[in-house]
Structures are given as structure tokens and as C-alpha cells.
Symmetry: C2
Subunit: 269 residues, 2 copies
Amino acid sequence: MKYSIGEFSLITQLSIKSLRLYHEKGLLVPAHVDDTSGYRFYDEANFDTARSIKSLRRYDFSLTEIGELLEGCDDEADMIVQLERKLGDIASKIDRYQDISRSIASIIEYEKESVMDNEREFEIEEKELNTVLIAGHRMRGRYQDVGEGLGLVCKTMGRHISGKPMTLYFDCDYKEDDADFEPCVPVRKGKESEGISVRELKGGRCVSLIHKGSYDTLRSSYKRIFGYINEKGFKTVLPTREIYRKGPGMIFKGNPKNYLTEIQVLIEE
Amino acid sequence: MKYSIGEFSLITQLSIKSLRLYHEKGLLVPAHVDDTSGYRFYDEANFDTARSIKSLRRYDFSLTEIGELLEGCDDEADMIVQLERKLGDIASKIDRYQDISRSIASIIEYEKESVMDNEREFEIEEKELNTVLIAGHRMRGRYQDVGEGLGLVCKTMGRHISGKPMTLYFDCDYKEDDADFEPCVPVRKGKESEGISVRELKGGRCVSLIHKGSYDTLRSSYKRIFGYINEKGFKTVLPTREIYRKGPGMIFKGNPKNYLTEIQVLIEE
DNA sequence: TATAGAGTCTCCCCTTGGGGGAGAGTCAAT
DNA sequence: ATTGACTCTCCCCCAAGGGGAGACTCTATA
């Protein structure tokens, strides 16, 4: 019994285009090709091959791989090896996509959270801070270098990170070029490594203000918060903290007008 | 500060080819293009865009999607929607790959198992069968139609299947065209549906022989097993069972010489 | 037997995200 | 002025087909 390509396509559920491609690649050669018309005709034996190809395609084998399998299909042990290799491929794809999935989920969480805060106006408040475990990288230089240090710390600690990134400032006054600071992140656990210090950061009573907008305008908020502290007669404790509640985002830099930075100054009780 | 495409490529870790492509697609337009030489020059602002593109590519966004995101990046809420859509995409990909992974694993198991039996020679033996839950599709016709019925049952029961497919034969003698049989599979659980009967198949003492080779030669094994039964003076109980321990395989038809079919004839105790 | 309509053929272009290379122009240093 | 390093555009390539054009071929009906 002979089947034209159209009939064969209907039966096997493979498109005519695909059948012609498989013919060209030598995967599924029609039983007979008419010399004068060039028409392809398929027979019963072709059904088995068609079924094999369909299965393998469903399992994400490439046409090249299918070709190799169809050639050497006599030794079944070899086929098992191929299947196991494929299983490994698939597993690593799953791993990769799961990584991506986790990353995207955490980005969404980050963005959502900060969008919520976005409409509020913020006032100075006093509050109690808990002691937290942090990993930090102490350095000297200009304020712009904070980003770099933060990147280093985040990359090193990876998924142990348990909170927003922050910077500790150890100077009592503003220094342009030789500031002493420590970009850090809260972590669940972690071990010391080159340049990275892991330790507890003591909590306590503090004065806090959330600054909205570009980092260039941070100093106006510092002025406000220290004005408040002086007015109340508090004595401050170093280091001062900056918590980056919403910064440049993990994908887009975003609009600096929407950046949110919390300034925390600990006070003696 | 201006960077040539080579420098920019080194810094951003994007290939020159990619950079030119992104320029062409309008995703990452150099800050300046020299009129006469056509040389591309990038500036600081381009770094942010480059970083965004790299992140999004890592998260499996297509260039088209990235383009749309870069256009409408002012409304962040919209970006969250896009990210969530992507998250859904990724999740469905993971699902799909996990399905494939499971399928391949079961194929491997099937093939391995049967390869092990492959070298053995088989003799008639008597053994005890347990009662099992089966799903079957009773039908009349030719023996060749067994395959179809089995396909139906397997597709319907899907992952509830818990053993090798088999056929029950209800005729006491060989009928060419109007045999009465029931392709079925053991299942863990399952509900009746159109044409499918789910029930317990009673066990008992039986005479069993594993037939090696094409189904066309099955009758010689039947002759042997019934010869044995007559010799021993056993009385048989219908239906007779054929268990397809290794058949045409899920991908390749395989070599019929290696097919293994167990014939089980229950006897009165 | 002519013709219409359906089926099939080959050939070409398109998709994604670039890689590889040819041939020509440009830049900076010697 | 020349040389070597960069860069430009343009073309072809990958996988697995999809879409369509223009030309044949087959079959059924008038």
C-alpha cells in the first residue's frame, strides 16, 4: 500500500513541510519516488520511522541526533546511553530555568515592595534596631565607590543575603576623597573570606529618616536628621547607616527620583 | 568620555557582533556615530542600557521583549507585569522539561530491564499470581487489533499505570477474525470510563512460559505450554494471559527477535 | 476528451541571536 | 608614508520548519 505525502501527513500528524525536510535530511526516505513527477510515496515501514521521529522530537532531540540514533539503532545499549545523555541535558536545562525563575521572583518581590512605599512621604522617626548578622567590606575612598564594594559583597555572599544592602560610615564628618566606610548586607550565615568580614552588628535606639530621590541630594536629609538630633540633645554613636531600600534596580537603573534611602543614626540611651 | 566598540565590548562583555545587532534593532544606540567613518562611539549612559540588556538576556527575554521593556521602562508597574508573564513562561518550560525527563527516565528503565532478560533462555515454570487491579478494554476482532486497544487503554490511564501491558484471551481455541480479548494494564487506581473497565483480576496458580521473538511465532510457545499442561493433567481457567515484557518499544520498533512475551495459563488447584 | 480543482513539486525568503569571514576603509604610531 | 590594529558593511551559516510563488500532475466530472 502506498500513501501520498498528504495522506501520510494526515496519518502521522507530521506536516508536509516536515516530511520533505526529513526526506532531504535522509531521516525518513519515502519508499518510492516517482521518476517523472517527483511525487513521494510512503509505505508501511515508513510509519515506524515516522513514529520514532515524532517521539524523539517530542523528547527534544535534534534532527541530527535523531539521524544518528536511526543509523545505529541496532545496538540498543547505545540508545540507552544517548537517552541518558539527553536526560542529563534536560536536567541541566531544568536547573537553569529554576535559577532564572528564582531570580525573577526575587526581582519581582523587590520591585513590588518598593513600589508600595513609593507614594508615601517620610518623616523622621525614632525606633529600636535589632542586632543583625552582616557581611561587609571595609574600604576607604570616595562615596561613589560604594557601589563597587556592594557588588563585591553581594556576589560573594550570594543567596545567604537576608536583607537590603547598606553602608556603614565611620567618619564623624563629611570627607570627599578619603571616607572610611563599609558596604555590607545582612546575611543568614556565612564565613569570612578575603576582604569580607562577617559579624554581628549591634542594634539599639536610633533616629531614622527615609530619603526619597537621587543620592546627590542625600545631604539635605542628613542636615534634617542631624538638626533633629541636636534639637533633642541626643548623643550619636558611630557608625551611621544608610540602607538602600530602593536603588538602581537589578535590571534597570530606574528613575533616581524614586530611590529610597533610609538614614539611621544610633543614639546613646 | 567616549568608548570605541572594541573597548565597550571588553567592558560590557558583549560581543562586537551583538553590539552591532543591538544597534541595528535600536536597543542600544551608540551615543555618537561618526558621519564619515561610520565608527560607533559609546558613552556612560550606554553602560546602563548594556547592563539591562545583559540581565534580561540572561533571564531568557528575547530581543523584541527587551526592546518593549526598554521603551516603556518608565512605568515600573508595567515591568512587573512583564516579569510575571516571563515567570509564567519559565514555569511552563520547567513543567514541560520535567514531563520529558520523567518520560525518558521511564523509557530508560523499560529498556534496561528488558536488555537484562535478553540473554536468558526460558523454560516453562509454575508459579503463583497475585490479584491485581487492571484497566481493560474488551473487544472483538483480529489479534492485530490488540495494539490499538492497548494504545487506547494506556493513553486513558496515563500515569496510573503500574505494570506491563497485557492481553486477556477469552476464547478456548484460536480464532482468526473474531477473537474475544481484552487489552489491559495494571493500574494503581482509576475510574471507569467509556469502554474502559477497571476491576480486580484474580490471581492463582499458573503455568508460565516466556516466549522470545516475534509475535508471529507465538503459537509454537502456546503449543509447548499446552503440551505441558496436558501432560500434567491440569485443568485450565480462562482467560489466558499474554504479558508484553518487551515489545516494540516506545521509540523504536526494535528487533522482533528480542521481543519477550510471557504466556500465563491459570490452572485449577 | 477537455477542463477544473485539488495535490504536489522545487525554489526562495523569513524567523532568533548571533558567528565567521571578505573586502574595504580608518586610526594611530613609527 | 607605511604598517598593523580597528572598524565598517555585506553576505552566508546554524535549526526546524512556515509561507508562498509558479509550475506540474492527478482525478473526477461534464
